[in-house]
């Protein structure tokens, strides 16, 4: 006889899922799919969908992120295979949900006036946009020196250095042994890279 799964069953699991996703337990927020499966059971994806529905009025959403290597992400973002209009994008098609990491992110976007609540300045955000844009344009990796050079065109030297360190520390960027920068876990979680490129390309220069 199949087990009856009522409101109480999901309510308990949704609470636990919210704890796991909201509260930072290690150095990164969110949780892996396999962690959620272990804690919530095999129907954790359904639990996350329920949680997502509850978060909607608060302008929040549960985001599934497959942490692919930076080069692969850039390739996917810059050369999107043609899809029929209206077809839903199948991110991570063919991959197991257990391999993804799940976060609670803002469903909408922030206004420039709201930046101060997050501790960011306009300059910091511009620098992050430049660094991410350049890395994407170079196919997922770019020498740190090139990123710094482009940032110096717009920002003072000290702010460039401090900004890059902050981006590295907070996970927006990663740096390998050869001093090459790549997209970090936080960029993959927070930035709609395809939208960013689209906005950059469509913006009409005065």
């Amino acid at each position: 006889m199949p087990a009856r799964r009522g409101k109480a069953y999901y309510a308990r699991k949704v609470k636990k899922a919210a704890h796991m996703l909201f509260f930072r337990r290690h150095y990164r927020p969110g949780a892996w799919g396999w962690e959620l499966r272990k804690a919530l059971g095999p129907d954790y994806v359904r639990v996350l969908k329920v949680l997502d529905g509850l978060l909607r009025p608060l302008d929040l959403t549960v985001k599934q992120v497959f942490e692919l290597p930076s080069r692969e992400v850039a390739k996917e973002v810059s050369a999107l295979p043609e899809a029929p209009e209206g077809a839903e994008e199948q991110e991570g098609a063919g991959r197991s949900p257990d391999e993804a990491r799940y976060y609670v992110v803002l469903r909408g976007t922030l206004e420039p006036t709201e930046l101060k609540y997050c501790g960011w300045r306009i300059d910091d955000i511009a620098a992050l946009a430049i660094a991410i844009g350049l890395i994407l344009a170079r196919g997922g990796k770019a020498p740190r020196a090139d990123v710094e050079a482009l940032l110096r065109e717009k920002l003072p030297d000290w702010r460039v250095r401090a900004g890059l360190e902050r981006f590295l520390k907070s996970g927006y960027l990663g740096e390998d042994e050869e001093g090459t920068l790549y997209l970090g876990w936080r960029t993959l979680a927070e930035v709609d890279l395809r939208a960013l490129l689209d906005l950059l390309m469509r913006y009409e220069l005065g």
Binding site: S78, A79, A126
Partner: protein
């Protein structure tokens, strides 16, 4: 007659040059649009009346085939850029240079959905912490602190290890790890396991130095849920703030379970 032979030789060279150019496009070394297809077809047609030998006719056929592969490459190029959202890297860099910081920030904000997170204790984190502490092996017997030993640490012969020797051993172990990993990773337990318990502990001890000195990375394989060691190509200086500690108990029972 020598004049005709000379013409034939020159004509063959011309065909070979055309074939080489087409092969360059096929190999990806040449832009397909840099090949003047129409001119080459005219040249091949003009030379056709010279061919009598089967080898020459075969050369002619190869040149025509090469031209067709260039046309194919050109059509693929056009198809790729017309049916995909193609991003020109140069154009993106130009945009990043041209736009004002305020504009860049406002564009970024429209694509940015920050993670929402809270940093505080929860019943779940308390439960996990309690579980962690309760699973730690109890410290056997009462240990005398330095105060009880008269405030002085007692030097014991053989109990100290020279730093150089540790480094040598760590490097040897690193070489071994690189051989085993073959560019990938090796499960932690598989790497430290030895025939005896004491040797396993020794290898685990040196492995901890190997990871601390950043000769290798200690990671969790998310699918198999086990610790793996990934050697670095060369050790690097790690930033202090990135360092984390991982406690891996190696009890005799644990060793025996892996050995069996």
């Amino acid at each position: 007659m020598p004049g005709k032979r000379r013409d034939l030789k020159r004509a063959r060279e011309q065909l070979e040059h055309i074939i080489e150019m087409c092969e360059g496009v096929e190999a990806g070394g040449l832009d397909p649009f840099s090949v003047p297809v129409e001119e080459l077809i005219e040249a091949i047609r003009a030379l056709f009346h010279l061919w009598e030998e089967p080898e020459d006719l075969s050369l002619d056929a190869r040149a025509v085939e090469g031209i067709s592969s260039v046309i194919k490459a050109q059509s693929e190029w056009v198809r790729e850029r017309s049916t995909r959202l193609y991003m020109d890297p140069f154009l993106v860099e130009e945009r990043l240079s041209a736009l004002e910081p305020e504009t860049l920030a406002s564009l970024f904000l429209r694509a940015w959905h920050p993670v929402v997170e809270l940093e505080q204790m929860t019943p779940l984190s308390l439960e996990m912490a309690l579980k962690y502490w309760s699973e730690l092996p109890a410290r056997g017997g009462e240990e005398a602190g330095p105060e009880e030993l008269g405030g002085e640490l007692m030097p014991i012969e053989g109990a100290t290890v020279e730093e150089e020797r540790v480094e040598e051993e760590v490097e040897a172990l690193w070489e071994e790890l690189k051989r085993m990993a073959r560019g990938g990773s090796v499960p932690y337990w598989e790497f430290i396991m030895a025939d005896t318990y004491s040797e396993t502990v020794r290898r685990a001890y040196l492995t901890s130095f190997m990871v601390s000195y950043d000769y290798a990375k200690l990671e969790v394989d998310p699918l198999r849920q086990e610790l793996v060691l990934r050697p670095r190509r060369k050790p690097r200086k790690r930033l202090k703030e990135k360092a984390t500690s991982v406690v891996i108990p190696i009890s005799y029972e644990e060793w025996a379970s892996h050995a069996s």
